[in-house]
Subunit: 106 residues, 2 copies
Amino acid sequence: MTYGMTIAALADPTRRLVLEALKAGPLHVGALAQTLPVSRPAVSQHLRVLSDAGLLTVRTEGTRRLYAIDPKGADDLRKYLDSMWDDALAAYTKAAQDKAAGKDRT
Amino acid sequence: MTYGMTIAALADPTRRLVLEALKAGPLHVGALAQTLPVSRPAVSQHLRVLSDAGLLTVRTEGTRRLYAIDPKGADDLRKYLDSMWDDALAAYTKAAQDKAAGKDRT
DNA sequence: ACTTACCGTAAGTCATGGCTTACGGATTCG
DNA sequence: CGAATCCGTAAGCCATGACTTACGGTAAGT
């Protein structure tokens, strides 16, 4: 049930901007905050949420802290979407078949 | 940018319960509300959000309204996750290669 | 050792949204 | 036509969370 935290983390637009900024490669908090429309502490708080959700990895480098996207951070969410919409599609096609078989009135 | 609404819709636990209940097939609002821990108007409001996000389809049947999962409702979100994490993975492997090539200290 | 740079956390403010009760419109049946 | 059922919407309450400023702690440089 960890995909719940993942979705909650991705639900915030500013956090998605953080991920966009990190798409190209790792950045430290200061550089990240300069590209974003919020203050540095706000960025820190968002990085906390994203890290807790397993979407980011951290690496301390001197006085800097480098954040990077965790490549397998969205796996659970993907699985959730797959299972959910697989079942939904199955029910959908089944309903269509039943309708066609039961009373095929044009 | 429509995946933003999709994520926002999926971010609420009650709305995910709605989707779980609709996985097996279409239901009307009353039946849906009985299975959920909130009132019927609350369910209506959630159905509104999910419909606006393109995750549900509606079909009026007499005085009932049947809601069902839209099989292609999560496509945009999937594409977003794919592109995001493809780029992230590319940056990740590239960084690993650069590090290995630049200074391959064991 | 002192100063500087970088960062996380605490405290407080304010907007967002999820829930409830109350109400009104639409459809079906006697 | 009148009664009953089903449902969406309005209004209001309250918790959550995103943001800011202020502060403290750690690492590097002189």
